[in-house]
């Protein structure tokens, strides 16, 4: 747990989501404290990604409320761009902007959303590239980078907004096995620095090591939650046991 114990960073209340007739999220509520790392696992189609995407309204939740650091994300009159600026998001497919170099990818949002000038953005961007170990790739275009390097640039791009919380939507699923480690290392160091993180992932080693709390989802609900030790060693639900036996 983080130092500032007890301060709620993310709160979701009774999130429901329908895609037409398909009931994807059936009432999800959870709280994430400042500095906490929460892992979300579950079989495919269980609604993990949709849940994460509802939290910054990349998907519009059908009902329910979301608060990020006290701001009501789901309020109809909220300035969504302002809210999203506080939330870093990392995607499975990286989604770097292919017409921009690595450093330009990182500088874009600080300059156009936060209003930094070029020099400040450059400074911040190079600092972050150093952190993810890619200073020498600053002026490289994404198509010249490996998957792992692209994902690290994507993480730096999200961090450049100095977000209050980071969402990771299966950040390593699209990577070749030998590149997973470099991305997870960056994420571990972020966790050590006290970043609040919500991670949809199947990297059990990473989760065991870094996560403070685990949510197990199935069929659009949270079927079980707790610390990694509780959930992995003593799962209470049959469905949890079935799922864990398949992936562990």
């Amino acid at each position: 747990m983080g130092e500032e114990h007890g301060q709620v960073m993310v709160e979701a209340i009774e999130i429901q989501k329908y895609f037409k007739d398909l009931h994807v999220l059936r009432g999800i509520s959870t709280k994430v404290m400042r500095g906490q790392v929460v892992a979300i696992i579950g079989p495919s189609g269980s609604g993990k990604s949709t849940f994460l995407r509802c939290l910054n309204r990349l998907e519009e939740p059908t009902s329910g409320e979301v608060f990020i650091d006290g701001m009501e994300v789901t309020h109809p009159r909220v300035d969504l761009n302002k809210v999203r600026a506080e939330i870093g998001m990392v995607f499975q497919s990286f989604n770097l902007f292919p017409h921009l170099t690595a450093i330009e990818n990182i500088k874009l949002a600080p300059m156009h959303v936060r209003g930094l000038n070029d020099k400040e953005a450059m400074e911040r961007g190079m600092g972050l590239l150093k952190k993810v170990g890619l200073v020498d790739k600053a002026h490289t275009f994404p198509d010249q980078l490996s998957g792992g390097q692209q994902q690290r640039v994507a993480i730096a791009r999200a961090l450049a907004m100095q977000p209050k919380v980071m969402f990771f939507d299966e950040p390593t699923s699209a990577l070749d096995p030998e590149m997973i480690g470099e991305v997870l290392d960056v994420m571990k160091s972020m966790a050590r620095d006290g970043m609040t993180m919500m991670v949809v992932s199947h990297e059990m080693g990473f989760i065991r090591e870094v996560a403070d709390h685990i949510l197990i989802m199935d069929g659009g609900i949270i079927i079980e939650e707790g610390t990694p030790a509780q959930v992995f060693e003593h799962p209470t639900q049959q469905r949890t046991q079935n799922f864990l036996s398949k992936i562990l």
Binding site: L58, N81, M89, F91, N95, P98, L108, V113, D143, A158
Partner: protein, 330 residues
């Protein structure tokens, strides 16, 4: 590069088949027949039926020889080129000798340089008008098309109904009809546009729709994840369009838009029906003045000279585009 090397290797390692030796044998035999034909064909003038038989045999031999030579992958490239050129020359010779084409008369009517004396300045002023007309219309149609496509991408149902109606309407009207209506019919409604304005307006109306469609397909070709990543960073929808989607979409769209501009430049010739003194109209005027069709050929040549490089450029752009799309595809 690599594929060349590969092809070369394959060529070298494939063993010659029996059919290949057939080739090697037939090629000189048929070639000899053709060579003899060239020497002993009847002279210029109306051939007798027997001579016609000879000529037909000769033409068929030439075609057979060219087919053999051109389908032989083992022969170097220059050989195929030589074979094609040779066959064409032989067939041309036959046509020249035995057709009842009136070469002199044709040259005098259509390729008479005498006629063009003192007419070039008029033709060139027409060219100037064609180019300005095309330039104004091109800029207007690209800008309008871009704006329409961007508005359309925001998926406002009411606005899109109007945009789609506009596009469908002007895409389905022939340019010549539109131009005539705007020039001759609108004055009855108190809107009198000169030939120049009518030309620009009608070309822009038609081509803005084409460009709107081109830009729309470009915008739609950009992966959804790009927009999501930009919005997740807090960029507004407009900035996402300006900074992320359009720079990528425009790259995709440059080849088709360049192609449309070729069509637009050719379309300016339609303005000759509303008395706009562009290239074709000037050509027609000179034709009447000199009572000769030669100016028409001159005009054709000018269109060719302007448009051929343009068309080459479209192809180059397209190839470069494909490489770019491939390198950024995930």
């Amino acid at each position: 590069m690599h594929s060349h090397v590969g092809a070369g290797k394959r060529k070298a390692t494939r063993a010659p088949t029996a059919w290949y030796w057939c080739y090697e044998f037939l090629l000189p035999v048929v070639g000899l027949i053709v060579a003899f034909g060239i020497l002993f064909l009847p002279g210029k003038g109306q051939p007798s039926p027997g001579q016609w038989g000879l000529i037909i045999f000769f033409v068929l031999s030439t075609l057979a020889w060219a087919t053999l030579a051109l389908t032989d992958h083992r022969k170097p490239k220059w050989f195929s080129g030589l074979a094609a050129a040779g066959a064409m020359a032989v067939l041309g010779l036959v046509f020249y000798r035995y057709s009842n084409a009136r070469w002199e008369a044709m040259g005098e009517s259509f390729f008479n340089r005498q006629v063009m004396k003192g007419a070039w300045s008029m033709i060139l002023s027409g060219l100037g008008n064609t180019l300005t007309l095309a330039a104004y219309s091109a800029v207007a149609s690209i800008l309008i098309g871009l704006v329409l496509a961007v508005i359309r991408s925001f998926r406002n149902r009411i606005l899109n109904t109007f945009i789609i109606a506009y596009i469908d309407f002007f895409r389905s009207i022939p340019l010549i009809v539109l131009m005539v209506v705007i020039y001759y019919a609108l004055p009855f409604l108190g809107i009198a546009l000169g030939p120049y304005a009518s030309g620009v307006v009608s070309l822009s109306l038609v081509y803005s729709c084409m460009e709107a469609e081109a830009f729309r397909s470009g915008i739609e070709s950009i992966h959804r994840g790009q927009v999501e990543a930009a919005r997740a960073l807090g960029l507004t929808a407009f900035k996402t369009m300006r900074l992320i989607v359009l720079p990528q979409a425009i790259r995709v769209v440059i080849p088709p838009v360049t192609g449309d501009m070729v069509g637009l430049l050719k379309g300016t010739a339609v303005a000759s029906v509303i008395a706009l003194p562009e290239l074709l109209k000037r050509g027609q005027e000179v034709m009447v003045w000199k009572s000769s069709p030669t100016p028409l050929i001159a005009v054709t040549l000018i269109y060719l000279i302007i448009l051929l490089p343009f068309i080459r450029m479209t192809m180059v752009l397209e190839r470069r585009m494909k490489r770019w799309v491939k390198s950024t595809a995930r």
